[in-house]
Symmetry: C2
Subunit: 210 residues, 2 copies
DNA sequence: CCCTATGCTGAACATCCGTTCAGCTGGCTG
DNA sequence: CAGCCAGCTGAACGGATGTTCAGCATAGGG
């Protein structure tokens, strides 16, 4: 209970610095985030930022590994669940919830993935690995049409699932959505499901055919 | 013929500045592109950059409108082609060729779209408009299953088609592709076609079903 | 009690940024 | 030929940036 009654001023200065840097990078990007801005937002002096993390790059690296670990902690546990056929689906839903809970996580992940940082590239590759594994399982179960390029198709499914995060602003502008609103996610998920259903469940597609 | 025997040193200084700024923005982004770097790459003094474009923002705006016009000039003409049912397909192929011809165009468009610049947002929205129009036409022709959220599904088709540009580095790393190589594009297009065929052509899907 | 380690700061440093400005050039026009 | 003007430069400006450093307070162990 007491942990819920703590404000930002109760945190270590080092933790506040990390949090401030995370928010600023998510909002403005690495290059536009200055040591002085981090310090001001954390309520400390610029020198303390350097003192704790060695350099500006040290802060950037620290929050990068922090977020990567956070993401893995929250997604990896799902992989050994009971029904592997829906592992990817649960992964997406869990990710969706994390993005909703941690306000700037979506923006940060978008930057991590799209800035071409090695962390982002590796994380995406692992996600494709899992997606391909999942798709292969579906095929063995007869729930998906066999594909000649399984990995590429898995990447496509992943991209569509992550699109609200990866391409959030683009979609919000083009479709009039607002991904802070739960209904926008639902609308996207429904459309995704409808578009892919006949591909993944050919039997259903046949009955839907005019 | 003589136009093909001209090197960079034959261009106006203003044109060289624009070209240098375009390349640097594509490679590093707007914020990391400095006036001095532009000047050095163009072989002129930093002062001349300001002299011709007023300010750094002036250079950025100039290449932005330049590229937007270039893209429209090369894609808009396709829309009044004879067979509207394949307008989107031709648009994608044409875009693909443009990206192949102008080396850094893909990287620049990626930045334009993902940096959240208004130009990028509007351009993407127009592309979704066209994609939705195209999808509606397919539905009327009985070539696509009717969708309840046509615009969202059109956006998904567009995203998959543009993925090699939008998410180039991510896909290259995750799938071991190289979009400088024609075959990587082919592989992606083939997988895309296979994934979507049963959704767009339910009759074919039925025959493919096991 | 002293002494040391830790957390932290203010001031300063060199460097880079975008921009300004006086002045140089060469070719065109009167 | 004189005048002028567009193209172009080197040097400098004020400001912002990342980083350094000497020194402050304070808590804990000898």
């Amino acid at each position: 209970m007491s942990t819920q009654l703590t404000g930002p001023e109760d945190l270590t200065a080092k933790a506040r610095i990390r949090g401030a840097a995370f928010a600023l990078v998510a909002e403005r990007g690495v290059h536009a985030t200055t040591v002085r801005a981090i310090a001001q937002r954390a309520g400390v002096s610029p020198a303390l930022v350097i003192h704790h993390f060695g350099s500006k790059q040290g802060v950037i690296d620290a929050i990068s590994t922090w977020i990567v670990e956070y993401l893995h902690r929250n997604t990896r546990e799902l992989d050994r669940g009971g029904d592997p056929a829906q592992a990817l689906q649960r992964r997406l839903v869990r990710f969706e919830r994390m993005v909703a809970e941690v306000p700037l996580l979506g923006a940060y992940v978008r930057r991590m993935l799209l800035d071409g940082q090695p962390d982002g590239l590796d994380w995406f590759r692992r996600a494709v690995d899992l997606s391909a594994e999942e798709l292969a399982h579906r095929e063995r179960m007869g729930k998906a049409r066999p594909s000649t390029d399984l990995r590429a198709e898995a990447a496509m499914l992943l991209i569509l699932g992550f699109a609200p995060v990866l391409l959030g602003p683009l979609l919000e502008h083009a479709l009039g959505l607002d991904f802070d609103d739960e209904r926008s996610w639902t609308r996207w998920r429904d459309a995704e499901s409808e578009l892919l259903t006949s591909a993944l469940y050919p039997g259903v597609a046949a009955t839907d055919a005019p």
